[in-house]
Subunit: 184 residues, 2 copies
DNA sequence: ACATCTCTAGACCGATTGGTCTAGTCCTGT
DNA sequence: ACAGGACTAGACCAATCGGTCTAGAGATGT
């Protein structure tokens, strides 16, 4: 099968980059963990590590979009969907061993100064915000309100994730929906 | 002077780690940039790179505490101080070339899995929250309210900084005080 | 003047890095 | 059966990594 080895590489790379960042993971780590020889990596990803990182980020991004949909599709209100999303992320954080960073910032914002990495991470973040905005309008919010709230959601999720990581504790992540729904 | 070379190393390391993360910066980069030979580094920091990173993080942390005080000491209300802090951070972000990450997460959460790094970053974050909490109580908030708001402040600041970094634009950072003062 | 201590200076080390290259395996179409 | 492309396999490479070590410069106390 074509996709299998390539996907396994991207998936493994995503997992490791989230743990230790782009520069913190060597190709040998990825290859050992995925049990794939170096030749295969350079067959599927001609530019090597940087190509692999972009693919890994897209992989992680698609998973996040799936989580967003899972949270918002059954929701009756924006507040419900948003709260569910935070709880899902807190659970994911715990499952991942409480060490992982945000799927994309760990891969792309991290590590070497690389313009294409930065642009890709910008697009990915925007795609998440856009998806939440779409759910928000579907649930009755005005377009401007939806966009603002979606942006705030990711600001708070990102910051909450970092704090959870530093504390090795996802509790704060679960408390944050209150901030976003009630304000203070 | 004793402190001079040592401080120059810590300061240079802090700057570079914020740009490219712990694993993204080699000792040779730091030594070249600080114009200090390797022998001096290992004289002042016996454990080498990890020691240097801890010192650099403390350096960055002290600067952040100073910025917090600068924002809150002249403030008449918590809202004023908080807003000033965000604007100061936005300005700092622009001055730093719009690439740098959060001073501490770039250094400590990043890179190799290292328990002492994680603990140090937790303590540093907590010291920031504590400082803001102290300012908040001084400005009339109840103790519980102060602590909650201070925590939210850093969650939002952290997330906003990441978004600004991805977008290479500090505007969102300047819009966030509204979220924290008015809620939504 | 000399000994002593702090600090600078950089050559050097083994290990690991990302990347290249060739040989061989496997699958597919004819 | 066999030709040809897709893919695997890993030896090999120069460069760089973090870290060690020795030699000497500079300041200080006696």
């Amino acid at each position: 099968m074509n996709g299998s080895t390539k996907d396994k590489l991207a998936w493994t790379a995503a997992k490791l980059f989230q743990e230790r960042g782009y520069d913190g993971v060597g190709l040998s780590d990825i290859l050992k963990s995925a049990r794939v020889p170096k030749g295969s990596l350079y067959h599927h990803f001609r530019q090597g590590k940087s190509d692999l990182a972009l693919a890994a980020a897209q992989f992680a991004s698609r998973e996040m979009l799936r989580i967003i949909d899972d949270a918002f599709l059954p929701a009756k209100t924006y507040k419900d969907g948003m709260t569910t999303l935070f709880f899902k992320c807190a659970k994911l954080f715990d499952l991942m061993g409480k060490w992982n960073g945000c799927p994309v910032s760990g891969i792309l914002l991290n590590g070497a100064y690389n313009p294409m990495f930065r642009e890709t991470s910008e697009h990915i973040f925007d795609s998440w915000i856009e998806r939440v905005t779409a759910h928000a309008t579907r649930l009755g919010l005005s377009e401007n309100d939806a966009k603002e709230r979606a942006t705030h959601l990711f600001v708070v999720l990102q910051g909450g994730w970092d704090l959870a990581r530093a504390r090795q504790n996802s509790d704060e992540l679960r408390r944050l929906p209150k901030l976003l729904s009630e304000g203070l």
